[in-house]
């Protein structure tokens, strides 16, 4: 088996890991922390690398678990309702809204409303282009389960997206 090198094999996964973590935590700073924790954890278990089928799937699985833990912690820190919360606008400031594509922003929000499993499957399939087998390895579920989750995610996004586009928000 080919020897695995951190700089050449693990580090280039950072963007994929970041996007997955971002999809789960929905917070850039948190996602970056998750990627860092993931890499350090994978590094600390480097003795086990030769036994792995796929380092990428392993990294993604670790990343997903850490991201889920973190978003749970985040969810526990409930936001207090005070004046600043009431005054805050729903969307980002008008300038960024203009700069970014409104449609993509909308899709981002729609995907954000999906359950974590569906979000992760959608991310790994449509954004990262992974096979069902690879996704199943990351989530540690059957391929059928992956398909079911993906089906539900795509259907929901399609429905909500067309609904909004047809009738407006």
């Amino acid at each position: 088996m080919q020897e695995i090198n951190f700089r050449n094999d693990i580090l280039p996964l950072k963007d994929k890991l970041f996007r997955l973590a971002l999809r789960i935590t929905m917070n850039r700073a948190e996602a970056e922390d998750v990627v860092q924790d993931t890499m350090l954890r994978v590094w600390s278990q480097r003795d086990e690398w030769p036994a792995l089928d796929s380092v990428e799937a392993y990294c993604l699985a670790v990343c997903r678990n850490l991201a889920i833990d973190r978003s749970r912690l985040q969810a526990n820190r409930n936001e207090e309702l005070d004046e600043s919360t009431a005054e805050r606008p729903d969307a980002a400031d008008p300038h960024t809204l203009c700069v970014r594509n409104e449609q993509l922003e909308l899709l981002d929000r729609l995907i954000g409303t999906l359950p974590e499993k569906q979000r992760t499957v959608l991310q790994l399939r449509d954004v990262e282009g992974k096979t069902y087998k690879e996704i199943a390895a990351v989530l540690q579920v059957s391929e059928e389960q992956v398909k079911v989750n993906l089906f539900r995610a795509r259907r929901k996004i399609k429905e909500q997206y067309t609904e909004i586009n047809d009738y407006g928000l």
């Binding site: 951190f6 950072k14 996007r19 350090l40 282009g129």
Partner: protein, 169 residues
């Protein structure tokens, strides 16, 4: 242009029956500028994946993670090297101590001792009378010296040298 194939692919896409290659075809199709009006709503859905894939972490992240990951390796290499030398230093110190102790001991025990070989002695006098005279003369000189030193020390003991003289005579 015939969009039947694309529509068919889309149907299968929603049903999660498309392969990764077919999904790539769909994505490529929606990436082009002139998409027919009835398919236009889905353009953003596929453009979204492209846009999401462009997201990632910067170079500063690499530096940060490598600083954490590669520093311990350098350490791990350096410290064993020093530790590996440690027993040698210890052994050298022990050897030095033993050798110097040995040298000192040898120096102490191997000092040339006075020779008491009585057989090697030769008579210097042929006449016993003259030998006796020389010996008593020598002893007289010794006793004279004793007496002198003792009278210097203590006058009350002045009788002792007198006694000694009588003893000798």
């Amino acid at each position: 242009m015939d969009y039947k194939y694309i529509e068919q692919l889309l149907e299968r896409y929603w049903a999660c029956e498309t392969s990764l290659d077919e999904e790539a075809i769909l994505r490529a199709f929606f990436r082009q500028k002139d998409v027919p009006a009835h398919l236009l709503p889905y353009k953003s859905l596929f453009a979204y994946a492209d846009a999401a894939r462009a997201d990632g972490l910067g170079r500063d992240f690499d530096e940060r993670i490598l600083a954490q990951v590669e520093r311990p390796t350098v350490k791990a290499r350096r410290i064993p090297a020093r530790r590996r030398m440690m027993p040698l230093f210890k052994a050298a110190a022990v050897v030095t101590v033993i050798v110097s102790l040995g040298a000192v001991g040898q120096h102490m025990f191997d000092r040339p001792r006075p020779d008491y070989d009585y057989d090697a002695y030769r008579d210097t006098y042929t006449d016993p009378q003259s030998a006796y005279g020389s010996v008593s003369e020598a002893l007289q000189i010794v006793s004279e010296s004793f007496r002198k030193s003792q009278t210097h020390e203590n006058d009350s003991l002045s009788a002792v040298p007198a006694q000694k003289t009588t003893c000798k005579e």
